[in-house]
Symmetry: C2
Subunit: 565 residues, 2 copies
């Protein structure tokens, strides 16, 4: 069977992908002629005094541009380490490939090591040497399996000291932390610790997260967002087409993204579904759960009148927490059900679940009671039964897409009884999340990541610590992209975490007031609700014309279009 | 905003796909020089006497090959109608495009009409004329939205008479029914009715279904299967990569396919997950639910010992109905809970759900009781509460992937208590189904369907009724494919449906005794369980080398490889 296994098990596609050579923009070619420029101290998002005190060495460093140096830089072998942190995102391998190639360009005696399974690999010095042969296997592939990832933080003294020992033992010129907002905040903490201990290793952050909530004026988008949203868009558009082909079902599709709705917005722009809820918009307009249910039911009724008993609704994973009335219901429930509360004791005394629910319902005030009554019984039951170890309702475990389906069903039943609706409502729930984090990266993410790795290497060469690699002008074709670096502290402010004020890189929410992408969405979404204006972007393509294969995210294309007006 | 909408809303990809020209195999070029050949009366799967009586006119027609005619056939304008039936599958539009182009090749005055929203469109004469401009919009696109589909049958006299009236009114030469096994059986019934009423319209069946259960010696695969399984394979392999990147979760992935596990088998060959359950294999080896749970738990324990607390399990949608002990449990439950039974009355008397469940549990015999005890409480509750209008347990509504997760959790808790396992088990459930039916068809499905339409057109030209279009040798490259037609009755036997014996096209299950694809899978699956041998086939590609873009299904490639030995 060996011959068959080889024939069936191989993947020509994988070989073809490995052979893809990412474009290096003009401004990043020939590393030995490049330098960083910038002198204006950087500001921060807020709390500069506190941040200055915490980051004595790294606070306020100037943001940097890459320019051509007046004379060639002296090249020496570099030794760099790399850590993958948090949930996987497509393109991580290419950051490492770009870094590796840049290291070799700088000096063939440079070396690269990968710390395994995330930050823990760093402070426990669990590493592997990344050779050319090994790196080659992962070119342009998805996943973080090259060295693994993990969710540990480097926070306490032991972990910080462990990390310092590791980089000293390896005598590293640079250490890459590839991660999201938290991991990059953590990178800055580690970098500051190194500086305070006179360790020369430069801490370099790389902006990763499929959620897209690590973005700002300097960082146009985090890597992995484009691939994930293209994968979701393929699936969503397939379902849109199914919906208007089979003409008999509504599909409620939840998309990953707890803290922000960038993923849902991008997927909506790609696929043009009948309804796309944006959490930030819901919060901004102070909508209640009942408002959302009504709006969906209205759309279903209008479409039913057109003989269209089908449609597609996109739901961001974090929606419930953005509904003010829902959040405060949860707060009240957490109060009544707190460990040790007398109400909890009373509730637990009921043998029958229905009685327990009724008792808790009786405690709620008028508004919260109304919100609670909207919920289907199985959700009420789960909220009350399945609380976390602190006794809190686990909002993130509520299946939001099913909750909406049940609420809409209830509402339609009422409308049917009163003769306002006589359609058929049948609905399916979907969740796309894990399936979008590890696909083969789009050409966009391949090239973006490869060049982020390249910029990071240059930061290590020039001894710049506490920076995030920056590649921008991403709406242009890759040869025209620009590059530089952003001081990590410039993206920070202080926020309360677990009851304590902490420095954090500010999370980017969808700006519903004046971002081009949201304003565009707002101006066209009504055209999608009653008419079928579904858009079918197709699966990610790698071998066709650049105009098809190299597309940047729609939200970036939107910004460019609006800026050009 | 109009300019932006155009710029953002357009899809260059769609335009590029529309321009794709499917390959016509050598044997199907130049229609006017082609003829059908065949004289040997065809047999059937079983019950030939009964089938002969039902299909007086159509039974036993010879299967046909397409050959070059000694002289050119006289070409005349044809008028053909087309119906899409049942769930959508990628490639349906291309059957119609292939038919349209063939009609135009035969005579530019030919015409094509589409009956809307399935068979109902036929017997209610709800149709649209399919012009070249209209057809062009749908070339190489997914979905059935060109004319819509529906699940009506043409069964009673009124429906049959309505269909006859429609084809007589339009004076059709041919009528295409594009559907699965049931729809093609129905096509034969309609064809026989037409023949009995001296109507000249030829009934032509086209083999559609993403499940792959319409296949046999003549029909290598139904269309839509390749696209659906490639879409599922992309998602499954993304999750495999996520699993070995994040190294912290097991994923239980249910795949569409209630009656057969071809989809799961193909997806397993494409992605090489740690475990792939095949329903037919489970039934054949008379496995109990507890055996399956044990096998999964064993694999989890072995992998955990290797520090791999992650993995991927594929689950065919129809699994539970193939577990003999589970099926008989359901039968017993249906017996006790039948409408009007005294047990049901007793059960309903309990106020508390837990008591009701305990009462029903007490009725079960020893073996069924043990199976019932394996199930998580929420599934027990759902089985008993949510029965269909006849009082039967709705097996198809049980979330099989979640059921397995809960059962495995229970089993691992027991093993942990006895010190046999000390890993961490965290699991996510997924279901891929609707998302695979309406994707852009693979080149394979584009070309297969286009040529099925072409063969069908030739059947209409030559007045052949009661046939299914056949394109075969699909493991070869498309220019070398062969073509012919299969008598619909040759695929039939009699089976009990709703208590009555009916003629049906025999559903193809996975042949676990001697099919190349299953034997191959069986010989290699152990290599996938403890080692990570995931395969990442990537998203469907359209613009690359033919070896990447034109791949046939793995199950077809397997058969070819084994035949060549």
């Amino acid at each position: 069977m060996a011959a068959q296994e080889a024939a069936i098990g191989d993947s020509e596609f994988y070989e073809a992908r490995r052979a893809f050579q990412p474009t290096v923009p003009e401004c990043l070619q020939n590393l030995k002629t490049l330098q960083f420029e910038g002198s204006e101290p950087s500001a921060c998002v807020g709390n500069s005094a506190e941040l200055n005190a915490i980051f004595e060495n790294l606070f306020g460093q100037p943001n940097l541009e890459i320019t051509r140096a007046p004379k060639e830089v002296e090249m020496r072998p570099l030794k760099v380490g790399v850590v993958l942190s948090g949930g996987p995102a497509a393109g991580g391998h290419n950051v490492i490939c770009g870094l590796y190639d840049a290291l070799m360009e700088i000096h063939t005696e440079s070396s690269l090591i990968g710390f395994q399974r995330g930050p823990r690999g760093l402070f426990e010095n669990n590493y592997m040497v990344l050779t050319g042969d090994y790196v080659d296997q992962y070119r342009n592939t998805g996943g973080f399996d090259m060295i693994g990832t993990g969710r540990d933080k480097i926070e306490n003294e032991e972990q910080l000291q462990g990390s310092l020992n590791t980089v000293l033992e390896h005598d590293l010129d640079g250490l890459f932390i590839i991660g999201g907002d938290d991991s990059n905040t953590n990178a800055c903490v580690v970098g500051e610790y190194f500086a305070q201990n006179n360790c020369r290793t430069c801490l370099i952050g790389i902006p990763k997260t499929i959620d897209g909530d690590l973005q700002n004026n300097e960082i146009e988008i985090s890597f992995g967002f484009n691939t994930a949203t293209r994968i979701y868009s393929e699936m969503v558009s397939n379902i849109c087409r199914d919906s208007c082909s089979a003409v008999k079902a509504w599909h409620f599709i939840k998309l990953m993204g707890r803290d922000a709705s960038h993923v849902t917005l991008e997927t909506a722009l790609q696929t043009q579904p009948n309804i796309a809820l944006i959490s930030e918009d819901v919060k901004n307009s102070r909508k209640m759960l009942s408002d959302i249910v009504d709006e969906i039911a209205d759309c279903i009724c209008r479409r039913s009148a057109l003989n269209k008993n089908y449609g597609v609704v996109l739901v961001p994973e974090g929606l419930l927490q953005f509904i003010p009335s829902f959040s405060s219901l949860i707060e009240e429930l957490n109060h009544f059900l707190a460990l040790g509360s007398e109400h909890l004791e009373q509730a637990e005394a009921f043998d029958v679940m229905e009685d327990k629910i009724a008792y808790i319902r009786s405690l709620l005030d008028h508004t919260h009671g109304a919100t609670f009554d909207l919920l289907p019984v199985e959700i009420q039951r789960e909220m009350i039964n399945e609380r976390d170890p602190h006794g809190n309702v686990q909002v993130s475990r509520i299946p939001t897409e099913l909750l909406l389906i049940r609420c809409v069903e209830k509402e339609l039943k009422i409308r049917k009884a009163s003769g306002k609706y006589n359609g058929k409502f049948s609905a399916h729930g979907h969740f796309f999340g894990y399936d979008g984090r590890c696909g083969y990266p789009t050409n966009f993410d391949c090239q973006y990541c490869y060049n982020l790795g390249r910029v990071g290497c240059l930061l290590a060469l020039h001894g710049k610590s506490g920076y995030m690699a920056r590649v921008y002008n991403l709406a242009e074709s890759p040869e025209n992209w620009s590059a530089g670096a952003v001081a990590l502290t410039s993206m920070m402010n202080m926020e309360k975490r677990h009851g304590k004020m902490k420095p954090v890189i500010k999370k980017a929410l969808v700006n519903v007031e004046d971002s081009s992408e949201f304003l565009y969405f707002q101006s066209v979404r009504d055209n999608w609700s009653d008419e079928d204006n579904y858009r079918y972007p197709g699966p990610i393509q790698f071998f066709g014309p650049a105009s098809i294969c190299n597309q940047p995210p729609k939200i970036i294309a939107c910004r460019k279009l609006f800026n050009e007006q």
